[in-house]
Symmetry: C2
Subunit: 343 residues, 2 copies
């Protein structure tokens, strides 16, 4: 009898809690719906680009509509460098790695003659950039081999808290694009699972993706180095090796999507030709699909670069976007605000 009374009481309390949850949900839904109704993308100027995004989302979420897509299949993938945050004057992860290269250089005389180390030590960013995200990954692998995943995460967080971007004199995580933050939130409010699919190091991005973008670690796909499971003094650790495991760039992006997500996205967002295959794979799927390229054409508020750039080169994407039905978002014309810190 005491047991029954106990579980009756427990059930009652759970029901009370449930009602509370419902009220909270009601408020949340009410607010988010109201926000959507007003304008969920205030930093996007009214025009063709914004309209294309809003229209697509409306179509795939309209129950009973011919283009309706069930919740489970609403996957949106975003490149990171140059799409969600800036990538000039160099990939931000490279800035993180450069200090470490310099610190370790005396122990590695061979680096003086070997790329990408040679360029890194000479401060020759073009030379480093010429190695692409693979070169960057080599630097990461060489400079953080032997550390555990926890030590690496700590190092990234420490650097992000202390380092400042040379042009804006602000933490690197301030250089995220306000319109893209709004877009991520807008898609999530419409039932999308938002993923990062980037050539950058997966462990580097996971150290801040949840806090900065609201994207949890398990929704970050990136390049990786090999790791090894070890029990050190009775404590299991995941140790970083100095070997590249996977390069999530170019044709590697659809491979990464297939490997980690296991289904084709509905929407893909990129900014360089490293994202070409990701957009190609996404938009080749049956039913409604959406591809968008962020075009860096705003030298005043951000940077202007495309066809000839060493970082974030965009040539084929610009040429083929019209015939493929991909949207080109102009930073200059489509964005009211670039960074959250702008007035």
């Amino acid at each position: 009898m005491p047991t029954e009374a106990g579980s009756g009481k427990e059930a009652g309390e759970r029901m009370k809690r449930s009602i509370l949850i419902v009220i909270v949900l009601a408020l949340a839904v009410g607010v988010s719906s109201a926000a959507r109704a007003a304008d969920a993308l205030p930093s996007w100027k009214d025009g063709k680009t914004k309209h294309a995004i809003v229209q697509f989302v409306k179509q795939v979420t309209t129950k009973g509509g011919s283009k309706f897509v069930p919740l489970a299949e609403r996957i949106a993938v975003f490149d990171n460098d140059g799409t969600l945050w800036a990538e000039q004057p160099m990939y931000f992860q490279l800035a993180f790695v450069l200090d470490r290269v310099k610190a370790l250089a005396p122990q590695h005389p061979e680096w003086r003659e070997k790329e990408p180390f040679k360029s890194a030590l000479a401060g020759d960013l073009k030379g480093v950039a010429a190695g692409g995200e693979k070169g960057l990954l080599e630097l990461v692998a060489a400079t953080h081999a032997g550390t555990t995943n926890e030590e690496f995460e700590k190092a990234v967080k420490g650097w992000l808290a202390a380092a400042k971007h040379p042009r804006f004199n602000r933490p690197y995580t301030d250089l995220v694009y306000q319109p893209m933050l709004e877009l991520l939130a807008f898609l999530r409010a419409n039932g999308f699972k938002t993923y990062i699919v980037s050539g950058g190091g997966v462990e580097f991005m996971r150290a801040f993706s949840e806090k900065v973008y609201g994207v949890p670690p398990e929704q970050v796909v990136g390049s990786s180095i090999k790791t090894q499971y070890e029990v050190r003094d009775g404590r299991p650790v995941i140790a970083r090796l100095s070997e590249i495991d996977f390069i999530d760039d170019k044709a590697g992006k659809p491979i990464g999507i297939h490997k980690f997500i296991g289904r084709r996205p509905l929407m893909a967002f990129g900014n360089s030709d490293g994202d070409f295959e990701m957009l190609e794979w996404t938009t080749a799927g049956s039913g409604p699909r959406f591809g968008l390229i962020v075009h860096h054409d705003d030298a005043v508020r951000e940077w202007a670069y495309d066809r000839e750039s060493h970082v974030g080169r965009l040539k084929r994407g610009l040429d083929e976007a019209p015939q493929r039905g991909w949207v080109i978002a102009s930073m200059q014309r489509d964005w009211k605000r670039v960074f959250p810190f702008e007035k």
Copy 2:
């Protein structure tokens, strides 16, 4: 003016839809809470094992409690073969592959002398099992090379729809464990993200995981072969190569968890020594952690095997579970029902 009236009307309709959503959510929360209060695990006998599970979930979900864990960190990982469904007389994926090996054998005379093909062709399951999940993966790689991911998925689904398990004369997907289906649902109702982390092929499992377990493809971690992105006749495809990419078994399981999920699970469920490192990694985390091993000790309703088995060997796990605080679930004593089709 018409625009304003239009958007006012739209906002009103959205609000109406929001209220509807709230009502649906209220019903859902009410029902699930009632179910939990009654008994979310009816196929588990009352006793130490069931109590340990329920108690742990209660602790980590009790807000304000000393062991409370935020929603985002509630990750539970499950092995598949022998943990969520049966694995006798052979891994079910092997049954799928064997037909294909036989069909292709005439074109591969070298298979007659090469393991695991030799055993596969001789119908020697012990010989095949001796190659472990790596041997299985070699068979998968060799027999499905060149097919696209879509063709492979279709082949798996076709096989699952037609093939029958030799002992029970039912589709293989009927041989899932009812208590584990309840456990998956119970954890999800308590805010957990449930993942499969298995030595089996990831693409094989993704073909049925959502339908059978309610686990979406993006929450399936498994062994994989290498794939290649190609544009065939203007249509992009992901083609399977005959090379192994990753073996998600033994020490590969924590590596797979780190690679795909990027954070340490709260709970881990396995049945063989192939799951040892996954449980070790999970339960070595700080704060509350939970490890459970399903013990196959029911020869009448399922199978009885452990220390000396060729498939699903469990030796170290049995020896070390007590000192590591892992729960051993006895199929015989802890499960009222094994399969959903039992009365």
